[in-house]
């Protein structure tokens, strides 16, 4: 399976599997190596990186919600130079493309960072994250700052506000892919401190919101590939995004709760599930498929599970 997730150009990005972790949920490739088989993922999107180092947000950073969480980390990172020094060797050894998520701070910083990443052999593409409240003019300047300084694909992660305006600008400024979307922002009261905290919301409930946006973007901008990102918590969720018009998907906080699910979704969408040999036992990765299970029951002539249930009773 080979999926091109960028517009055709000098350096198209082609993935084996249309599934990758979302920025900010998977570190820099240095974690989850014991729990997830990286070879089954399409790409690795790094944690957000800025030109200059950033410190963590003060006060409460995580608030539990009903079936979700609100997080405000402040996007702490070492800055692009130190990040590259620290992870360059690791990235060159990993068996999948590396997409560095760049925080859109100022056009000048984005320009310098893009130029810096352009020289890095181990980096295959950039994903530019834009502020939720960014104006159309600022977005154009920011995206242009990235696309003008690198030959590598520049993917633009759209905010959930003014999504379609920014998408049009991204298209005009030479973005190679649209990532829809950064999860919505919200405010919640931290039960420990009693303070109101603002941050990004994660959980299964945001999938419907972003799925609609992906469908509309795919209709309006058929000329540019879209990556669906937000609220994916099962293989079916990921397939829904593909059905809505996404070329690939990013899995976010599900990885924190059930790390193996990222690989399971990647196997599912990557076609690994249907390659079982005939007569194999039920696939441990996808017990719901069950066709081999039915075949086994037919072969032995009775339903073993039903019989065991009956004996237990």
């Amino acid at each position: 399976m080979a999926i091109q997730i960028t517009r055709s150009g000098k350096n198209p990005l082609i993935l084996e599997t249309p599934v990758m972790p979302a920025a900010g949920t998977f570190g820099f490739g240095d974690v989850y190596r014991d729990l997830v088989n990286f070879e089954k993922l399409g790409a690795l999107v790094t944690n957000p990186v800025s030109y200059e180092p950033r410190t963590a947000a003060h006060g409460a950073r995580v608030v539990k919600l009903d079936s979700g969480i609100l997080i405000h980390t402040g996007l702490p990172n070492l800055g692009i130079n130190k990040v590259l020094r620290k992870y360059r060797n690791l990235w060159s050894m990993l068996p999948l493309p590396i997409i560095v998520h760049l925080i859109g701070t100022t056009p000048d910083h984005v320009r310098k960072s893009a130029a810096r990443l352009d020289e890095e052999e181990g980096v295959d593409a950039l994903e530019l994250g834009l502020n939720d409240d960014i104006s159309a003019d600022d977005a154009a300047e920011m995206i242009h700052a990235a696309t003008s300084r690198t030959e590598k694909p520049v993917m633009v992660r759209l905010p959930t506000t003014d999504t379609f305006t920014i998408a049009k600008i991204a298209l005009e400024e030479g973005a190679s892919t649209l990532v829809a979307c950064a999860t919505p922002r919200g405010t919640a009261r931290d039960p420990l401190s009693g303070k109101l905290i603002s941050g990004r919301i994660y959980g299964p409930m945001i999938k419907s919101i972003i799925l609609r946006i992906v469908g509309q973007l795919a209709n309006q901008f058929p000329e540019i590939p879209i990556i669906g990102s937000g609220g994916i918590h099962s293989p079916q969720d990921a397939r829904d995004f593909i059905s809505a018009g996404a070329k690939a998907v990013q899995v976010d906080t599900l990885t924190w709760i059930q790390p193996h699910m990222l690989e399971q979704i990647a196997r599912d969408l990557g076609g690994w599930i249907v390659t079982r040999e005939s007569g194999a036992l039920p696939d441990e990765w996808h017990p719901a498929m069950g066709d081999t299970e039915k075949k086994r029951k037919n072969d032995i002539g009775y339903d073993e599970d039903a019989l065991m249930d009956k004996l237990r009773r």
């Binding site: 079936s67 931290d190 401190s193 709760i257």
Partner: protein, 245 residues
């Protein structure tokens, strides 16, 4: 870091507010050390969304003993999904003789795993409960541990003596505003001791851990040198090395 399953083999109410769960765990989990914890998910539902952090309080043979609030319902035979072990073991000083455990406005649960380990190494332990921690019932704790209950303002009897006598201090505070509370603890120790040496006063950070593996950076602390993550570098940090402002 591994993901595995465990079975609740026994549920025992230890006092009106807390219960102990005996968990039959994978063999590797019995190597858990004081300071390390587990991230646990019960069932398939998405509420609660985050994995809960469970602090073991002792190891009974091949079983881990976990302390949970009594108002949470658990059943014998229940299977729990475990992600762990989270964090690093606490680095105890060499030639320890006396250790002071301090719980400030929070139950001392994250500290309790150290007690059997320290007692087994002939280290004497004093447990100080201040603020709301005073309501914690200590009847189930080893009677050789000296328990002192203080007031709401980080005062307790013989404070100068206990602070001076301790070779190492481990403190846990309410996670509502950990940095401010730890700052208050440091200030109190500075009043009672001329110098706070390195590797003497440790804070056990109990902030929420969304990933527990170092991916989300939601638990990042600023240190004097750089930064550290509670989930992978902690939970115990020398408070003289953490930027508490």
């Amino acid at each position: 870091m591994k993901q595995s399953e465990a079975i609740i083999e026994r549920v025992r109410r230890i006092n009106p507010a807390y219960q102990h769960l005996e968990l039959a765990v994978d063999e590797y989990m019995n190597r858990i050390k004081p300071g390390q914890s587990l991230l646990v998910k019960m069932g398939e539902a998405w509420h609660p969304y985050l994995r809960e952090q469970w602090h073991p309080v002792s190891i009974a043979g091949t079983k881990l003993v976990i302390e949970r609030p009594a108002n949470e319902h658990y059943e014998v035979g229940q299977v729990v999904d475990i992600f762990g072990m989270v964090g690093q073991p606490i680095r105890f000083r060499r030639n320890l003789r006396n250790v002071l455990l301090l719980a400030y406005d929070t139950p001392p649960t994250p500290l309790l795993m150290t007690i059997p380990w320290l007692m087994g190494n002939r280290v004497s332990v004093t447990l100080v409960l201040v603020g709301t921690a005073r309501t914690y019932d200590t009847q189930h704790i080893n009677p050789e541990v000296e328990v002192i209950k203080g007031d709401d303002d980080l005062n307790w009897q013989n404070q100068v003596m206990t602070v001076g006598w301790a070779d190492q201090v481990l403190a846990v505070v309410n996670p509502d505003d950990e940095l401010t509370r730890f700052k208050k603890v440091v200030a109190r120790f500075e009043e009672r001791r001329a110098i706070i040496p390195q590797n003497y006063l440790f804070g056990i950070f109990t902030s929420l851990l969304p990933c527990g593996i170092g991916a989300c950076h939601a638990c990042m602390l600023q240190t004097r040198q750089s930064w550290a993550l509670v989930c992978t570098d902690g939970p115990a940090f020398d408070l003289t090395q953490i930027t508490l402002d």
